[in-house]
Symmetry: C2
Subunit: 688 residues, 2 copies
């Protein structure tokens, strides 16, 4: 009997044991084994480091301790880790064989072994150990009154060596604290490249000591000092992240040309004189910081030696700020209009036997390569830099797809076949407000294309891009997170980790945990809603964000002129995000109902309809003291109207004709209000 | 008939006219007149500046435009203001006669005149104009679909010239973005002094080029670079704020002495030799960065010339970073224990005829005065610097009160009577978690003391102090705001502006509006609660914060050793604030019920009791998956138990004896759980 009791108890414990599938790990590791038993966290929990790492790991472990303690409120005794082998008998032992090199191709693997009384992280480099600590933080479990780690063994390494995020700091300047907290987010998601888009039409963002005009005239006073840049580089290094700076040339040149109009391509023809004698001349055009979004003509003059002189001096000042081996020179979206209209440039093309503007741009690009090489940098550029004369050392950044009228990622295949290394961003444009699945299932390794092993190896990885035409420091985190975490998984985890349901489930917890790094993707939504509601109760507004999504692609800011860079981005659309929660849940309910019209399944639908009818009433009430609620009302009314109709139909009380019902549904398919769309439209349509 | 209709309409408009008392202005201006009519905001709204200001006003107006546009979503056409008289026919005309001088005694007055088609701000200096813009932002009104300013005239100027906030960046380092957003908060509240407590036992926070050891050994890597400090000084200047830096000496010296133990006062006696011959000697003590809170012995040696040499060199490096005319040298809480135990220092006292340690400290202080004077700075120090030999130029910072065993603000009276200028901080210690009223009604001008006009004039104003033993970047804003806004009103508005109900009502809106400056006092509460709840629904937790307040005074961190500076401050107490909302409402309900036991008044009480019973159930449920909820349960149980009892008593169904009920109430008077207290205890007690 006693024996049986013990067995039963063991059974209970084992029953409470977490299953591998329940872990909220992201990116999912290459190998996970969960066994019975737990490691209990107590205030005596300490960390010890051995091997040959540098001080990077001390900071990493100290941050790990603070995060774990802040989550659990355990009051760890250990405050700081400052040297090797400080606490030889510590419960967590970390061994790193060597100092990790920040850059590509470093060994980032780690082995995490959790036993019931001891945890070890073994890694070749400290970069792997930092990844192991993030996994350990993710595997934390709790019951009602304590925290623990499940006994388990994890072996892990990345699939791709380039797991990047680009942030555009030109269109809307993003202060240092925004960059820092997102670097922390990247590190938590085991991403290792931060591509800093520092120059575009809307502003130059790097302090320049030898060319101060760039800041004085082309930054609105919003820029990073060189010291700040160095500090960010150090901050990134401490988190195992490489920074790739970008100065976008020769197109997107409004800011540079605002400071240096003399190296612009635009020609102004002057006419004067008398009726008898015409005098014609040319003058230098003037430029201004661009306030709209779009593709603009200001372009550097590739025929002007001064262009190269200034760029060379700029690189001489900027390159030393970034110890990494790569420098991005942009090169995208140069339509060459000002080149075509400039006789001097046309002459130059002829003289150098450059047949197209594309060849002219390659000529330009190739002048830049040695300027960068001098500083030990390889040139990287958007896919437009790819032409036959481009040096094989350049990295081609593949970005275009159907939006730009070409096959998605075609340039990636072209590049690797021609011998170039490449990084994929097409499909990872998170500023476009597409659902997380579209990014999650976007694999840098093209399907159905025959690539040799060598060619495949040239696909370095991928990079999420956060363009900031419509993104401010208040909203950037909610545009980046949590979707970037799903991209991180695509780039780190095995190719066959593609279970969307699992990803969604894990993403919810991951998103919540990212808050501890200071990311504001959850908290700032309430700030926006409080402003819209004029400090009334935000509950109905918040509920309505669960069925609305910001307009996708480039539809929110038609022609790039509805919003200037100083326009308000504190609106309802700015509080909404892709993957509206109730839209997903409603779609599930619709599918269940269509599969089986049980009373339970019907009840799920009617609950949604009743909620939406009531939401509309709530919003109308709210709007009586909140002008910013007004633009939403046409939407909530349509959703309420269609809900009313469906309720009648479901109860067989409706005298509505199918065409009338269809009309009500179609009225929900609108993009004319508040810059959002009703994300339940397609599910409603299924019901007809 | 037509005439009558028009009259009626006019009547409606007039009826909607806002009354002066309904305006959410804070600090309340010296003179407010509201007339009929409104100025309607449209996208054509523009600003024009005339007079003789410098560029400070351009930045101020541009920020004003963005804030107003972000609130209203109107899409103003005007993006930036960059020069004088840019839009002569603009609807808002600002005229500043001169450039404001950052410092004391500047003319900060302004006249704001809102007519139905034109707004003017007239100010002597641009500092006054900036204040006028803040008032204009506060006076914004709306109906259901538009925003407007009521026709009104406001004339305004500050009562005190020193309206300050101190932030302790030593105990918990507060990054640049924390400082910046709080400078914005100060400017919005028309405060003009930021006192930056940069050095204490727990860390040295200023980059030092000539004494790098201070950073290398005594900062944990957490410090402001000199460039960052200069940028903050500029940022403050742009908002009309003077920065007063503090290096706290000779006590609170752990950090300095960690780097320079040779100038410490502690003596270590060495004994050695043989049994026949004793050898005695002394050695330099070693010091470490302090991790606890409290008053510690490490103190600079005032008898050592090297002390003055190092301090002089430090001032030579630090003073030029701060253009303001004042430098705070601390001087507080030096108990002199190490001085008493050091024979060399005792000898020094005798030699210089210094009878007490207090006199010795004055000797020390007076050595510092010329070091600062050399850089054009006046010395300021906490009230302990006040002795008979102190130079009359020094400013005495009055801070002690009953907590320290002295009469509140006595030193202020002493100082002005002795001819010193003084600033009051006693009663403004916002870190102590006292209710807003206690600070609001704390007037720097002492009541019942006979002071001459000259003596009164020496009372410069007051300063809120945010010590950070228990305050991190996550929580600092909720400890500062909104209570600091009430202190701002005390320091700016007329002496007789003391209506607590009015202050509370206005404070609610002011607090909400402060969010637009990036302040996190509201949004970060949800972050903490999400962590405590383990990402479950935070509603019950949030409700429970409405009856709980953090322990007051120094009771949360007994003896300063329960929390180290690296301990978690992500707990329930960190989500709670003084002035718990439901505690105030409940107290009102109790008072009403006691005044008149109507069914309505009884119903108000029972609603609270039922809510609290249900809260307890909700918290128990939440706790099954949230260990951090456990410490709260004993409190919610007590509140639930007493609520049950009162419900029975109110229904005359109780067989409880008075003593038993009293016991239940007294059980709510506990400080033993979760570092909070039940803020409804005193109201419950009234009910017995």
């Amino acid at each position: 009997m006693k024996y049986l009791f013990v067995l039963l108890l063991a059974g209970v414990t084992a029953g409470a044991q977490i299953k591998k599938e329940q872990l909220n790990l992201m990116p999912w590791p290459q190998s996970v084994v969960v066994n019975d038993g737990n490691f209990s966290l107590t205030k005596n929990f300490k960390v010890n480091i051995t091997g040959n790492p540098n001080s990077r790991i001390f900071g990493g472990v100290t941050r790990f301790l603070r995060r774990l303690d802040d989550r659990t409120g355990i009051f760890f005794e250990q405050g700081f880790v400052t040297k090797l082998n400080e606490v030889p008998n510590a419960e967590l032992q970390i061994n790193c064989a060597k100092v990790g090199k920040i850059g590509l191709y470093e060994d980032e693997s780690y082995h995490l072994d959790i036993k019931s009384n001891k945890i070890t992280i073994n890694a070749s480099s400290d970069l792997g150990a930092l990844h192991g600590l993030e996994t350990l933080l993710q595997i934390l479990q709790n019951n009602s009154n304590s925290f623990y780690f499940p006994v388990s063994q994890i072996s892990d390494f990345p699939r791709f060596t380039w797991r990047g995020l680009m942030i555009d700091a030109s269109r809307h300047f993003q202060p240092i604290d925004v960059i820092k907290r997102n670097l922390d987010g990247l590190a938590a998601m085991k991403m290792n490249v931060f591509h800093w888009h520092l120059v575009d039409d809307q502003g130059w963002r790097i302090e320049m000591k030898k060319h101060p005009k760039l800041i004085e005239l082309a930054s609105d006073g919003l820029y990073y000092t060189q010291e700040e840049i160095k500090n960010i580089v150090k901050y990134a290094d401490e988190r195992g992240i490489l920074i790739v700076p970008e100065i976008d040339v020769p197109g997107h040149g409004s800011a540079i040309l605002t400071a240096y109009p003399e190296i612009g391509s635009k020609v102004i023809t002057l006419t004067g004189g008398t009726s008898e004698k015409n005098i014609k001349g040319t003058a230098i055009a003037t430029y201004g910081i661009e306030r709209n979004a779009g593709i603009f003509t200001p372009t550097l003059d590739p025929s002007n030696p001064k262009t190269y002189q200034i760029l060379s001096e700029i690189f001489d000042e900027v390159c030393p700020l970034f110890p990494g081996a790569y420098f991005h020179i942009g090169g995208d979206e140069n339509e060459g209009k000002d080149w075509d209209a400039n006789p001097k440039i046309q002459e130059f093309k002829k003289k150098h036997n450059l047949k197209t503007n594309h060849e002219l741009q390659t000529y330009f690009t190739m002048q830049l390569a040695p300027m960068l090489k001098k500083h030990g940098k390889q040139l990287m550029g958007w896919e437009e830099i790819l032409t036959k004369d481009l040096s094989k050392e350049a990295i081609v950044h593949s970005w275009r797809g159907p939006n730009e009228g070409v096959v998605a990622g075609q340039s990636l295949v072209d590049a690797v076949k021609k011998g170039y290394k490449t990084v994929l961003s097409n499909g990872f444009y998170i500023d476009l407000m597409y659902p997380v699945t579209s990014h999650y299932l976007n694999d840098p390794m093209p399907k159905g294309v025959n690539l040799s092993t060598e060619e495949k190896a040239r696909i370095l990885g991928g990079e999420a891009t956060m363009w900031t035409e419509l993104v401010t420091p208040l909203t950037i985190d909610s545009r980046l997170w949590p979707r970037t975490a799903a991209i991180a998984e695509r780039l780190w985890s095995a190719e066959d980790v593609t279970d969307v349901d699992s990803m969604r489930r894990r993403l919810e917890t991951v998103s919540f945990r990212l808050e501890e790094l200071g990311l504001t993707h959850i908290r700032n939504k309430a700030v926006i809603l409080r402003n819209i509601s004029n400090n009334q109760n935000v509950e109905v507004l918040d509920e309505f964000t669960n069925v609305c999504e910001p307009l996708k692609g480039y539809t929110r800011n038609k022609n790039g002129t509805e919003y200037q860079m100083y326009s308000p981005l504190t609106l309802f659309a700015d509080a909404c995000t892709p993957d509206a929660k109730d839209a997903l849940r409603f779609d599930e309910a619709v599918n269940q109902y269509l599969a089986s019209k049980t009373p339970e399944n019907k009840a799920k639908l009617t609950a949604f309809f009743n909620k939406w009818i009531s939401l509309n009433k709530g919003l109308i009430e709210l709007s009586t003291n909140a002008p910013l609620v007004q633009p939403i009302l046409p939407l909530s009314k349509r959703l309420s109207d269609v809900s009313q109709a469906f309720l009648s139909v479901l109860d067989n009380k409706s005298s509505l004709k199918a065409t009338e019902l269809n009309k009500l549904v179609e009225e929900c398919n609108t993009k004319d209000h508040a810059d959002v769309e009703l994300a339940v439209y397609s599910s409603l349509k299924k019901l007809i």
